[in-house]
Amino acid sequence: MKWQYKTTTPEATRHLGEKLGHIFKPLSGIVYLTGDLGAGKTAITQGIVKGMGITAQVTSPTFALVNEYGDKSIKVVHMDLYRLLDFDELEEIGFDDFLRDGSIILVEWPDLLIENRYEPLAALSLSRVEGEDDSRIINLKTEDASLIERVKQLG
């Protein structure tokens, strides 16, 4: 099931993330985040984390590979798998532990997970719009019927 939305500024992307964060709050699972460099993956994550009620400075996960926000009661894990080469490395960064924690796990460059047939809660993709530098088309795909229902109410 699919849903599409268009934002015209990075702030709007962040704001959409916040609304999605509200919806994700009671859920757990992996959320794929795809899009080119500069597509707004960190921006939408900033919104999602805020929308889940966590106050934190969300920055790019590229250097550290994994950033964690929140505490035991509610946690968001933000990963960038761009530099991982094979599946064993996922274990090394504690991927299974995060899965067991029941957190929302936002994964940038999730190719390794896709190849290994993980079933994400949702897949979010951000793409640029030709001729509109700040606009983004955001697609959400999910197999979760109630999730798509709630997302559709966003407009």
Partner: protein, 334 residues
Amino acid sequence: MKILAIESSCDETSIAIVEDGRNVIINKIYSQIDIHKKYGGVVPEIASRNHVIKLPYVLESALTESQLTFDDIDAIAVTHGPGLVGALLVGVSAAKALAYALNKPLIGVNHIEGHIAANYIQFPDLKPPFLTLVVSGGHTYLIQVNAYESYTILGRTLDDAAGEAFDKVARVLGYPYPGGPAIDQAAREGNAEAVKFPRVFLDKNSFDFSFSGLKSAVLNYINHCKQKNIEFKREDIAASFQAAVLDVLVEKTCHCAKKTGLKKVCIAGGVSANQGLRTRMKKQAGEEGITVYYPDLVLCTDNAAMIGSMAYYDYQAGKTSDLYLNAEPGLNIE
């Protein structure tokens, strides 16, 4: 007091012996950059595996070349964060084993504080208070160093680190990893006025940084050129991008120095090796009566000497660790 220090938080496996925080007896660095070059960045599993292989050799050569033995060493220091968890664990485990086997104090050191301490090695008379701009692949901070053990963070990046912006723009322009030196080099050949990229200053009174908008602007520009078949010189883009980063870094640092009244500014971290940054900072800060410090290139990149220096001041302040010391990938300063 002689401290044997280990650094393995990212690319480099390094061991140093530093006396009294300022005198570097030896600083051995084994870099994995060549290994990681073909992947366009540090590959974590490869990094940790190589740290395991290299560390014993680096340790042995540090002792042999300095003609010292473990008996001469008074304490063991190690970077325990921030960094890559697997890479950090190698150094932390080795340090704990050494401290336990030799029955010497163990000192866990914050990597960022280590970068700041690189300036203590370079400038034996340099003492806090001063302002420091820490810029590297993973970090961008403006920190007021009140005393050796007292820091006030005045600004930080809200998204990408400065060095990360360099790496990502370099990736898009087809320059090799690490992107910083490649862009710095290309910037000298290009025209910095060719493209006017945005300078993101955020709020005028904020000392925080944001580099993701600049990164997007560079990508937009390149996409735009490709779509319309406009030819561009990548040196010009490199130069224009670097100018935008430096404008913000230098402007904010000088403004912050003025506001805090600090007359000394230290640049630390991998990006402090950037020639453009050094020149610009010296010029602009100099005009405002501020003295600028930055370490030699070898002390800008990750190295254990800076960890050994910081460890000395940690030890003086009674900050030692026990054998439960763990790797903390997200370790904060303060």
